[in-house]
Structures are given as structure tokens and as C-alpha cells.
Symmetry: C2
Subunit: 321 residues, 2 copies
């Protein structure tokens, strides 16, 4: 949620001269997305999002992200489709930074999802997984299970500072995750950040997903686990099993889970809680001067991790009726 | 340029239930405006800007601003028109803060205006002055000539810290402004912040003005003076007389100036430079934690003030051919 890069009218005109989308009518910086600069661009032919990629997104990964969005759009998944310039290129440069123009995806995200939203979100996630089948490029999940222990080592002191005794608890969690982490489950392209603010609704219906800048190859059921943590906890920290059942049932309405995938959901959800706890712990600290983004507290995911640690059977449920 | 207030889908639904503009399709926080929270809102019937007024705008002033925008829109001036709810109210409340929905005004602002842009801007400013004639409400210019000396007194140390000797220079400027400030010139509603980022173009043509939250009653020619400072200085600090002539000529294409108004432009421009120097000096200092807005350096307007101090005949020119 930030606008870092400013664009002059000359820079915009230079960029648009490469495209066949008409002259610009308006340009507004929007507070959306990970940590890129996003602009809502209106031209004579329609509305688009212009993204300037800031340093947090690795330039080497951009072809994967943009080609994936193009692939998904071509298969009818409602997302933002990259617009190619006259030479067929979607990856452009503005003010020395990588940039892309994608189509505007209308929709509203929900702040407090109910079970019906969770069902729609689950169905949307399965749609995404199915639409991504056959996509040729791959990207390792750099924040996946294998990365957590080395990621945590330099953060042990920060964990202790957050809560005395937490470092040892996390180390034990990492041991437990290593011991129980599943193998042999179906893999594919996952969104990896399927949070409510990245999912759009029109009325009560799923209208699409945005912000694919963590997308990678990993266990498909791990993506469900990320979503269960993001969608099914109440503000008071309690886990809403009705919402969780709805999310999984929605998912299975499009892509039924194997028994092994369903059995793995508890450990996958514990791992997904670890992943977001770790990155929030790493981002925590004094806000640097000039920063436009406030880091999220790691405590939210520390609590979710505790819920999964203490109730391993929380997600052991069959498909909803 | 900031989004301070967040809006949940429930709060948006509650607000829109009072209006006849259809269901919401998308909502995006936009980095635009003074220091309010602005959202680009798309509904089934069109596009709007939803503004939540943060503390810097006095709630008592909002009826003046909103009624002025309504008045201007009714007279055909291209601006953002407040949308009334079913009870005819334009001033609403969201999350305990004043809020309003206005129509979306397309257009692009220019970062480096050329003389042609200045001519269009001048004509647009005169259009605004003429369209505002007859508007019944009034609002004192709380940042006008009478306010500068009391505004400066507590800032003398800050001025000295910025540049040794500056406090005495500013005091002498205030004396000179008092001695030469004009009286008897035509008054009316002025925009008072007619900067390039508040003026929209479509191609090369004036497309409207936004951000009326400094609008007030004052000398009409003072509004031109504010614009001359904002539009006609080059990045290197030099004053572009060609652009200035174009701006005044554009203005006079719609509202010819009296000889007294034209003769007053140099002192009005010096005063307008003082006004922006003072507020930027007051806003200068360490960035508070969590602030989303970086204050602008007061040095830009200190230099503009110096230009007007040293070249009192800079703006003594007749109308352009």
C-alpha cells in the first residue's frame, strides 16, 4: 500500500507511445499492492493499472509473474492481464525501473469475510490452480518450508524480544514441521498470498484475484492452508471452523482434494502460519524515516501458529455437506 | 497525498445505502488531495471520488467548500460535483469523520507546464472566478495578507535556522507588503491553491480544477499571483516571463484585468510567495513517525520571495499580443 515512484506526464507519454491503447485521460496513484507503485491509468480505450516495480520484487522474477498473468487471463481466470506493446513486450521500463501495464480488474475486497465469502474464495483459488495447469515457467517458493529454519536463525533475538521463550518454541515448531511435512502431494503454481485484500468480489460472488508477486511452485494444498489462516480467523484470534469448512468445500467444488491432501491440511496450516510469522518478524522494528508502509505486527501470526500448535486436529474435517 | 482512513466494505455499504448511485464495484485509495483520505469509487452508475476529511480541514468550513463545488458545477465549470444523498445532503459521516462523494473529474496534471499550459491555466482560473460570481457563502482567507505577520512571529527562530539573517529579511518584507498592499481591487471567491497538481488537462486543453480546500474570499488578482508563482518558475529558480505573459493573457481572454489589478501583480506575487513560504516553514521539521506526507522545503518559496523582492518590475508587463 504505497506509491514510491512519481511519473511525469512526459514519462507517461513516452511509455504509452509504445502501446496501442490510446492517449492518457487520467492517472492516479493508488494505495494497493505489495510494495510496488501502482497507478490507475485511464486512456481513450479503457482502464489499466500501471505498476512500477520497486526493489522488493526481483527483476528476474518478473517474466514469471507477467507470463503467468497472461496465461491465466488467456484461460479465462479473472485477473489483471498484462498489456503487450507493439513489439509484444509486457515488461517495460519507466524511470529506470521495471514496469508493466495490466488491465483493470473491478471488484471489492472484503475486510471481514463471512462463510459465504470463504466458500467463494475457496472456489476461486481452485479455479486459479486449474487455470495455471500447464504453465511452463517455474519459480521456487523462496519462502517455502525449506527456507524457514535458515530464515529464522538471525531472527532468534527478535523473537525473544517479542516474547520471552518464543525462540525455543519456534525452534521446536520447526522441528515438528520438518518431521511431519508431507511429500508426494500434488504440486503446481500457487498464489501464495491469497489474502482477503488480494481477492475481489462483485456483490457476494468471486470476481478475481490480484497481486501475484509471491506466486511460485509448491504444494497446491499449501495455498489452501495460507488462505485458511488468512480468511478463517476471527478478530479475537479464534478459528472459525464453519468458515474453514466453507472455504475447503468451495475449493472442492472445483478441485476435489485427495485424502492425503485433506489429512495434510493441519500441518500445512501450521507451516503457513510459520511463514507469515517469520516474514512479519523480519519486517518488524522501527519504521524507517520516509517509509509509507507500516509493518504488520508478527503477533497476529504468532497467535495463529499457537492455535495450530495446540489444536492439531482443528483442520481434520471432512468436506462440508 | 495520503490515505489515512481505511473503509470497510460494511462502512461503504452503509454510506451508499443513503444514495441513489448503485452498488459499489470497486474502491481504491488514491494518493491525491491535500491531507484528506481520497478513494476512487466505482459504482453501477459511474465513477466518484469519496473523500474522508481529516483533521486539517475544519469541519465548519465544509459547507462552504461543498456548496461552492455544487455552485460551480451547476454553472458549467469543470470540477468535481458533490453528489447529494436522497435527503439532499452532500456532507456525510464515515467512521465518525466528515465525508463527501463527488463526481470523478478525468484529466492529467502537468509536472513541467509550458507557456501553452500556462495560457490554458490562466483561462481556466478566470473561468472559475466568473463561475463563482454570485455564490452567497463567504469564507475569510485565514492565510491572507492580514495573517502573515502574526503567523511569522513564532517562526522567527525557524527562519533563522533555515538561513542566518532571514528573520530580519522577512520582517522587512512584511513591512514592504503592508506599505504597498493594494486595496479596492475586485474581490470574489478564489481557489487560493491553483497549483499545477490541482489543474487537469485533456491533451493540451484545460479540463478542470480540483482541491478547493483553501478556497476563500480575497482579491481575484491575488489568485493570479499565486498561480504565477506556482506555474511560471523554472526548476532552476528563474522566472519565465513568457509563461507569465501567457498565463495573464489566458486569464484576460475570459476576464480582462483593470489597470489597477495589473499594476498590483508584482506586490501580489510577492505576497503570494510570502504565504507559501510561511506555511512551508511552519510545516518544516522532522517527519513525525507514521506520517505519510513529507513536508515541502520552504527554500523553494524563500527563493521565489527573493526574486520578487529584488525585481519588483518583473511582473510589470502589458497583456501579451
Amino acid at each position: 500500500m504505497a506509491v514510491y515512484t512519481d511519473i511525469t506526464d512526459e514519462e507517461l507519454a513516452t511509455l504509452l507511445a509504445d502501446f496501442d491503447i490510446g492517449a492518457p485521460l487520467s492517472l492516479k496513484g493508488v494505495a494497493e499492492g505489495v510494495e510496488n507503485s501502482n497507478f490507475l491509468l485511464e486512456t481513450e480505450t479503457g482502464r489499466f493499472i500501471l505498476t512500477i516495480y520497486e526493489k522488493r520484487v526481483r527483476a528476474d522474477d518478473l517474466p514469471f509473474f507477467l507470463d503467468l498473468l497472461t496465461w491465466l487471463a488467456a484461460r479465462g481466470f479473472p485477473g489483471a492481464a498484462p498489456v503487450a506493446d507493439r513489439q509484444g513486450r509486457t515488461l517495460k521500463v519507466v524511470r529506470g525501473k521495471p514496469a508493466a501495464i495490466v488491465t483493470f480488474l473491478p471488484g471489492l475486497s472484503v475486510r471481514r469475510p463471512n462463510a459465504a465469502h470463504c466458500r467463494e474464495a475457496g472456489a476461486g483459488l481452485a479455479w486459479l490452480h486449474l487455470a495455471a495447469e500447464g504453465f511452463a515457467l517455474t519459480r521456487e517458493n523462496t519462502l517455502g518450508h525449506a527456507a524457514w529454519r535458515p530464515f529464522f536463525t538471525p531472527l532468534e533475538a527478535a523473537a525473544e524480544a517479542l516474547k520471552p521463550g518464543l525462540a525455543a518454541t519456534i525452534r521446536a515448531d520447526l522441528d515438528a514441521l520438518d518431521a511431519a511435512w508431507p511429500s508426494g502431494l500434488p504440486e503446481g503454481v500457487i498464489h501464495a498470498d491469497f489474502f482477503p485484500d488480494n481477492v475481489f468480489f462483485r456483490g457476494e460472488a468471486f470476481a478475481g484475484a490480484i497481486d501475484f508477486y509471491f506466486a511460485c511452485n509448491d504444494l497446491l494444498a499449501y495455498d489452501i492452508a495460507v488462505a485458511l489462516n488468512a480468511w478463517c480467523f476471527e478478530a479475537d484470534g479464534s478459528f472459525n471452523v464453519t468458515s474453514a469448512r466453507a472455504l475447503v468445500a468451495g475449493y472442492e467444488s472445483r478441485r476435489p482434494l485427495s485424502a492425503a491432501e485433506r489429512a495434510a491440511l493441519p500441518i500445512l496450516a501450521r507451516g503457513a502460519a510459520m511463514r507469515f510469522f517469520l516474514t512479519r518478524l523480519a519486517d518488524w522494528g522501527p519504521v524507517p524515516e520516509g517509509a509509507l508502509v507500516r509493518p504488520k505486527s508478527p503477533l497476529e501470526y504468532e497467535r495463529k501458529l499457537a492455535v495450530h500448535r495446540e489444536s492439531a486436529d482443528l483442520l481434520l474435517f471432512g468436506p462440508a455437506a
